[in-house]
Amino acid sequence: MKKAPLLVFLILLSVVALVPFVWTVSTALKDDQEVFAFPPRWIPETIQWGNFQKAWTALPFTQWVLNTLVITIACTIGQMLTGSLVAYGFSRFKFKGRDTLFGIVIATMMLPGQVTMIPVFMIWRELRAIDTYWPLILPAFFGGGAFNIFLIRQFFLSIPNELDEAAMIDGASYLRVWWQILLPLSAPVLATVGVLSFIGHWDDFNGPLIYLNSPEKYTVSIGLRMFQDSYGSETNLLMAASLIHILPTIVLFFFAQRYFMRGIQLSGLGGR
């Protein structure tokens, strides 16, 4: 087996990469006294499974998980759909001002959010949308952000043009080419956008912080910060809550990677 050295190397590397993560798990299972024992103790003396329950019930996390789920799924769908549509427009058509407009797409990533935060907030205030989910979800449906447009466009560009031309000779409309040719071929990138978008919104803190006021509308990431204060943090509870918080994303990632791996047999279709 030629892959054996690679396997060994990967195991070693993942051990190093996982040290901090293992510490997170170990901390989540310790009692208050043991959290900072020195020298570091990897396996808690008595494992405190109760921390998970304690962290979860300290705040209305069940409600907040549902809220986070609604926001995150809506944003993910919006970003995948409109992001690929816009990327299609930018990658397959030559129209006046296209490159300038694409330049503007990229440029919007470069202006730091801190200075536009207050004006943007005021727009939502005028729309009477403060303390609703609209400011968090609606932007995802306007092209899904420069990052996704750029990413999907890069991938569309590496799919040979001949494929959609062939479909159009068969009489397919542009919308059909996008939906039936490009999207299926872009499974890896769409899965990537989907997963990254899901994780990004799942962990978003600033948006919910600024736009939501009513505790019953909060998201999990706001709750996590409540375990932290100037008198010292509830480190073990924070870690326990964080682990529960990332569980759905781990599961999602584990199963979604099938799609990164599906691969595209360009040769079979494009005839190169």
Partner: protein, 429 residues
């Protein structure tokens, strides 16, 4: 595709639900915002619930915000004029915010409301509420810095009780250093296994500067006062704790949890009384108590600091907002917050001097140490430009506290110049 549509339907329904609030309610809707950790926010909620029960015509809703993001959120709300009606702000930010005219002058209420008597509150607590000569807040979560000490460790080392020493005026910085040295222990590898003193971070080093006869800024906060030998002496004492005597842990932010007081591996620390609710819950295997900050060569190191409860200038319900504010500093609320829950020190003189407060049934028992600082401490030199001042001073002191610079005098000269340059410049640039 069908599943996607069904899901979209659910989403829209959820969104619609998030949008509507049940508006059959005739009560005045009031919004109140505060920060805190899980337990502290639960106390705020309890206060709000009590108020709502007593005032059936008003419905207060509490906006709970994590501390680390409170500044950011409150600025966005003030600047976009969507602020809640009543807001708690940290005194570190109060003069700066008051300078922007975000708060209502409260004298229209305090002067006409017979139920409110300013003389019932500590003068220092009232003093913090004024900005530009106008009363713009009520003080909450007021208190002074104290030292918290591990009685068991001190007894084991055969050291006299610092609270008893302080009563005789013998609890001094020299003595504290001596305690620090005697209480610091190293393991066989030469690594510290127990520290004698916690690092006095901001604002505790300012308190110590008071004790050495120094201050950060001059009286009207217009210039630096750090060029005095006393200031250098004070900060040299602080830096030497770590770099000469090695009696305290690293000053790096957030890094001290390993030698947190509750672990029993830190003998004495500088902190606020507010932390003790956490200690009461966590500390099971040693005895502990509090004492005042050690006196410096030139006097007491006591300082005070509170939070300010303010009324947003453009609130639609000033009368209702005032009733809420008045309730939060009422005897009932203060008894709940400061005597039952021991969150900080009362701002009401009577409560702070009551036996309920001074003779508690759980540690810390030496409560007069708290009353002492709120009675005779000094306010901190916090003006409208405090965030900038403290950043400039902080970055100069970083080198001293990290052991890169060893001479406090040189560092303070630099800080002095930098602060004076800052204060002489246009505050908007």
């Amino acid at each position: 595709m069908k599943q996607a549509l069904a899901f979209a339907g659910i989403l829209i329904a959820a969104l619609a639900a998030s949008n509507c609030t049940t508006q059959t309610d005739r009560r005045i809707q009031l919004r109140y915002m505060a920060w805190g950790n899980v337990e502290q926010l639960a106390l705020e909620q309890e206060l709000v619930d009590r108020f709502n029960r007593k005032n059936p015509d008003i419905n207060v809703r509490l906006f709970k915000v994590p501390q680390s993001a409170y500044g950011n959120k409150s600025i966005v709300m003030f600047a976009s004029r969507t602020s809640p009606d009543v807001v708690r702000v940290d005194h570190f930010n109060f003069p700066q915010l008051a300078d922007r005219n975000y708060f209502r002058d409260l004298s229209e209420f305090t002067e006409t409301d017979p139920e409110f008597k300013a003389e019932e509150f500590f003068p220092l607590a009232m003093q913090e509420n004024y900005s530009n000569g106008k009363l713009q807040a009520l003080n909450v979560l007021f208190g002074g810095g104290v030292m918290i000490y591990n009685k068991s460790l001190l007894a084991k080392a055969g050291l006299a009780d610092p609270y008893e020493l302080s009563k005789k005026g013998e609890w001094t910085t020299d003595r504290a250093l001596e305690y620090g040295i005697k209480l610091t222990e190293f393991d066989s590898n030469g690594r510290p296994s127990q520290f004698g003193l916690g690092f006095p971070n901001m604002p505790f080093y300012i308190g110590l500067m008071y004790g050495f006869g120094a201050n950060l800024l001059n009286e009207d906060l217009s210039r630096s006062a750090m060029d005095t030998p006393e200031a250098a002496q004070a900060l040299q004492w602080v830096a030497d704790l770590r770099w000469k005597h090695r009696v305290c842990p690293s000053p790096a932010q957030g890094a001290n949890a390993a030698f947190g007081f509750e672990t029993g591996r830190l003998a004495m620390e500088f902190n606020y009384i507010g932390v003790t609710s956490r200690y009461r819950e966590k500390i099971k295997d040693f005895e502990w108590d509090i004492c005042p900050l050690p006196d410096g060569p030139k006097g007491k190191s006591l300082f005070v600091k509170g939070n300010q409860l303010v009324m947003y200038r453009e609130t639609k319900h000033p009368e209702a907002a005032w009733r809420l504010m008045k309730f939060i500093v009422s005897e009932e609320a203060e008894r709940f917050l400061y005597i039952e829950q021991r969150r900080q020190s009362p701002t009401r003189i009577k409560l702070a001097q009551s036996s309920e407060f001074l003779e508690p049934k759980a540690p810390p028992f030496n409560m007069p140490a708290v009353t002492e600082s709120v009675k005779s401490g000094k306010v901190l030199p916090i003006g409208p430009r405090w965030p900038e001042v403290v950043t400039v001073v902080g970055s100069e002191l970083d080198g001293l506290f990290a052991g890169r610079d060893r001479d406090a005098k040189v560092v303070l000269q630099r800080a002095h110049k930098a602060v004076n340059k800052l204060l002489s410049e246009d505050p908007g640039l």
